[in-house]
Amino acid sequence: MTMRFNDETFRDDYTFHNSPAAIRRFPFPFDQDSYMYSVNIEPHRRGAAGSVFQHRFDVDEHYVAEMRDREITLRDDPLRCQSLPHMELAGWDFLELVMVSKAEDYPELFELHRDGDRWHWINRPLGIEQRFIFLDATSLPCGPMEYITRQTQGDHALLDQREGNLWMDAGMVTSQADWSLDFDIGMNFFEWHAPVPKAHELGVFQRALKFLLSLQQGAPVRRLNWTMTVNPRLDTSPENYHKWGPEKRTLTAGNVGAKQYLRVELQTLWRMPRSNAVAFPIRCYLLALEDLVTVPKWGRRLHRVLRDLPDELAEYKGFAVNRPLIVDYLSRFDDCAPTSAGIFPDD
């Protein structure tokens, strides 16, 4: 299989686009016609060929453009990538996990040759070839976590485990749904989830933390999270709210199908060997409503979910102001027919 990479942008002229194949493999997050928080965690098992669950780290047509966008964001704001001093070992663990996974899963795109601590990495899509000494940070152009996350789609947090809690002590965060690594760095699991409404009362975070503290090596898990974004923008950060916040007000009945995106995060969690830290990649997928409704089941279901969502969730996810426009648009694709269980298209 050869992969073609889109020439596209996630800012300014927003030339981002999904091919028909990318639409079909979009990780639609709703398995029923309504939504409420739950600890919706499942084993990160290998999924069907072609799906985003096929490989441990999904590489798709947006890879090269996303890495280019990350470079721009980092150039403007280097604090999007931070690693507290005690997290370097976790960075090496993560570098190993990504390099080994990608080289095995995409041999035509990535190669890893290891001779003891002497490693040789080839990344064809980005045109990178690097020889380095594993666990010797001076042999890479930057720290191990920064090095590998500049070559891996999605945001990535590395969580230290101590005192019966998880601590966000390192990360690369340039494609986030309105949260800030610079603000959250050093926080524990409850602190960084503090802004989420309703879930605390449901005991969701207590249960999720207990589960994650016992996460085992070789048994990664995943969950899907979602929000709504106007324009295909990866960097919807608090730091740049002045750039993307006002764009929410540009939505009209005429452009909502093209400009309003469902934003889905494929979050995976991995126990790492040497550091005992937990790696938390958050991979972002964007799909315009007009593309989404080409799958009839998704059009029907998204209409029902957004129509019936509690107000505080629409507020928290930042689209309350546009909800009437969105629901009105989607209602045209909901013929009230029943929908099948599960997230995948019917045909």
Binding site: L84, P85, H86, M87, L89, L135, D160, Q161, R162, E163, K210, L213, S214, Q216, Q217, G218, A219, P273, R274, S275, N276
Partner: protein, 315 residues
């Protein structure tokens, strides 16, 4: 649980009571690496009984060619260590779980002080290698009654910051002296009998050490006791827990599914709701708070027992 079948590659007596076992992949592959302080659960098919004991890994965390554990023979125990000592030989195949670390080094520490009592040396043997590899400052204090019993001596590196305290020879660890002189940002780790852990914690508190800088792991195995009956409401059965059996083991024997990770009262995975209790729960765990223990509404089946008329659990 992700467990794999491993071959016993070496059996080496370290002292009259302690034996080292080395496990390797039967096909020769490499095992997942781990962090110092991690343990594995070894499954022992002992006749009709499947025993599962947790042991700290003592080998180099960055060497995936094998896992090593040191097992102290406890003749008064439930039989797991006796099985290892009397039934397990080179070439045998045993199922071994994935490494889990509930006693990890806090890598923020400016210096690590490790204090071991007796067989409590085991997690530190792997941590020493990790600290050496990471070039982090540390010192280790190993307390044992006699040189003959000090199984860890032969496994410790010959370094100036490694100290053995043999009480028979009149050398007892002066905890106050060790803790008093440490630089800011030092963390202390204790593994051994309850008395040692409490003594270190007490001394550190008196010297105003921050709580987050104190770490400990008691090598807790399920204590024996009188047999007792337990009703499992969801399963609709009543089972009897034998004198040398844990409640968790009795549930497993009855095919009742219960989660677990450490089997030693530390990780919290097996926490179970108590639906009714006429009698007294003997809490032996380090997980529940004193208030929770007094309330008798939760129990940790891996180590805790019961005395009285009726105990009904949500399992």
């Amino acid at each position: 649980m992700t467990a794999r079948m491993l071959r016993v590659a070496e059996v080496t007596p370290l002292s009259p009571l302690v034996t080292r076992f080395r496990f390797e992949c039967p096909e020769g592959g490499t095992l997942p690496l781990f962090s110092g302080g991690a343990h594995v659960v070894v499954e022992m098919p002992d006749g009709a009984t499947l025993r599962r004991n947790a042991y700290s890994l003592i080998s180099d965390p960055l060497d995936g060619s094998g896992y090593e554990i040191a097992v102290r023979r406890e003749d008064a125990g439930r039989g797991g260590s006796r099985f290892m000592h009397t039934h397990v030989a080179v070439g045998d195949l045993l199922r071994v779980g994935a490494p889990v670390n509930l006693f990890a080094l806090d890598l923020r520490a400016k210096k690590h002080v490790l204090i071991a009592g007796g067989i409590g040396i085991t997690p530190f043997l792997a941590q020493l290698r990790q600290l050496t590899r990471l070039q982090m400052p540390f010192e280790l204090h190993y307390c044992a009654r006699s040189r003959a019993e000090a199984a860890g001596l032969s496994l410790l590196p010959d370094l100036p910051q490694v100290h053995a305290h043999i009480s028979d020879e009149g050398d007892r660890l002066d905890i106050g002296a060790v803790l008093a002189g440490q630089p800011l940002g030092t963390h202390v780790y204790t593994c051994g009998p309850e008395g040692l852990i409490e003594a270190v914690a007490g001394t550190a508190t008196r010297l105003n050490w921050p709580k987050a800088a104190l770490h400990s792991e008691a090598f807790l195995s399920p204590p024996p006791g009188a047999a007792f009956k337990v009703t499992l409401a969801r399963s609709g059965i009543t089972i009897t827990v034998g004198p040398h059996q844990s409640l968790l083991e009795a549930m497993e024997e009855a095919q009742v599914d219960a989660p677990w990770l450490c089997r030693g009262g530390a990780c919290g995975q097996c926490e179970t709701a108590v639906l009714s209790c006429k009698g007294r729960i003997e809490h032996h765990d380090h997980w529940l708070s004193d208030a929770e223990k007094a309330a008798q509404q939760k129990i940790m089946p891996c180590v805790s027992r019961f005395q009285g008329e009726d105990l009904t659990l949500d399992r």
